[in-house]
Symmetry: C2
């Protein structure tokens, strides 16, 4: 790996961490009551977006071949069903803890990866397809999931 | 430049183009009346977000050392002032045309850049600082501005 490859992998990871930090500070400053607010009338509540982000980040574990998901029970609530359809949701305090845990666990794994490891295929592409589409590597998961956080951060910014 | 560097630069640009396309399809499907709607009560109107994205992308021209901005008059309306403070705004049809023009002009410039050109410094960092902070390159502008589009796309998704 050359210096430029190392540099650009670091830039992509730095952007990931900066968005995690931005979301952290949004969630930290909100009370449990504020987490029940909708970002716009009839739209997702903040607590749903929090749980959704936890579930998406938790799924990255397996997708990046780094281990098993820690909170697979969240998929049903926050990925497969829309907000307000499943009342049996973890509490705000639990979700805030899961959010911290999943991101710090990912960070621990990321710190052990070498630059070249980021160019290995992720787990939702076959070896055959990856040979033709080398961009379907682990790094692409970070790029798309960083943009996914930005997408929801834009919505959270609408809270008054 | 190695194959991996070329690959990752392409991945970053592909993500940029995919977000431009996503924003295109949002703006194209909205009528001029819908462009006057606020994304949430008391928040920015869609037309303001459109003009804001045009102004931010237009500024990239100079920031990336690719030429002069085409619509510098938009800065005052869409960057320096909040929505609804400057009534003398271009029409929705004009802004839609500017949006197409600025993005296709950028795409034309991008297609002429070699992989190594993306690692040159951008125009808001000094040569001295860039020597210490090589991540402040042109590529970083693309990464941050792609996330900026995702941020506003999240808000536009709240329209009913």
């Amino acid at each position: 790996m050359t210096n430029t490859t190392e540099l650009v992998v670091k830039q992509i990871l730095d952007t990931w961490y900066s968005r995690v930090q931005a979301a952290d500070s949004v969630f930290n400053k909100l009370t449990d009551e504020q987490l029940q607010l909708e970002v716009a009338p009839g739209r997702n509540r903040v607590i749903y977006i929090l749980g959704h982000l936890v579930a998406v980040h938790d799924r990255m574990m397996q997708l990046l071949n780094l281990g098993e998901p820690m909170y697979p029970e969240l998929d049903e609530i926050f990925l497969k069903n829309p907000d307000k359809s499943k009342p049996e949701m973890p509490t705000a305090a639990e979700l805030k803890l899961y959010w911290k845990t999943v991101n710090s666990t990912l960070a621990g794994h990321f710190s052990n990866l070498k630059t070249e490891d980021w160019f290995l295929k992720h787990n939702s592409v076959s070896t055959e397809d990856f040979a033709k589409e080398p961009h379907r590597n682990r790094l692409n998961i970070i790029i798309t999931r960083t943009n996914h956080m930005s997408y929801h951060l834009g919505q959270l910014a609408l809270l008054k």
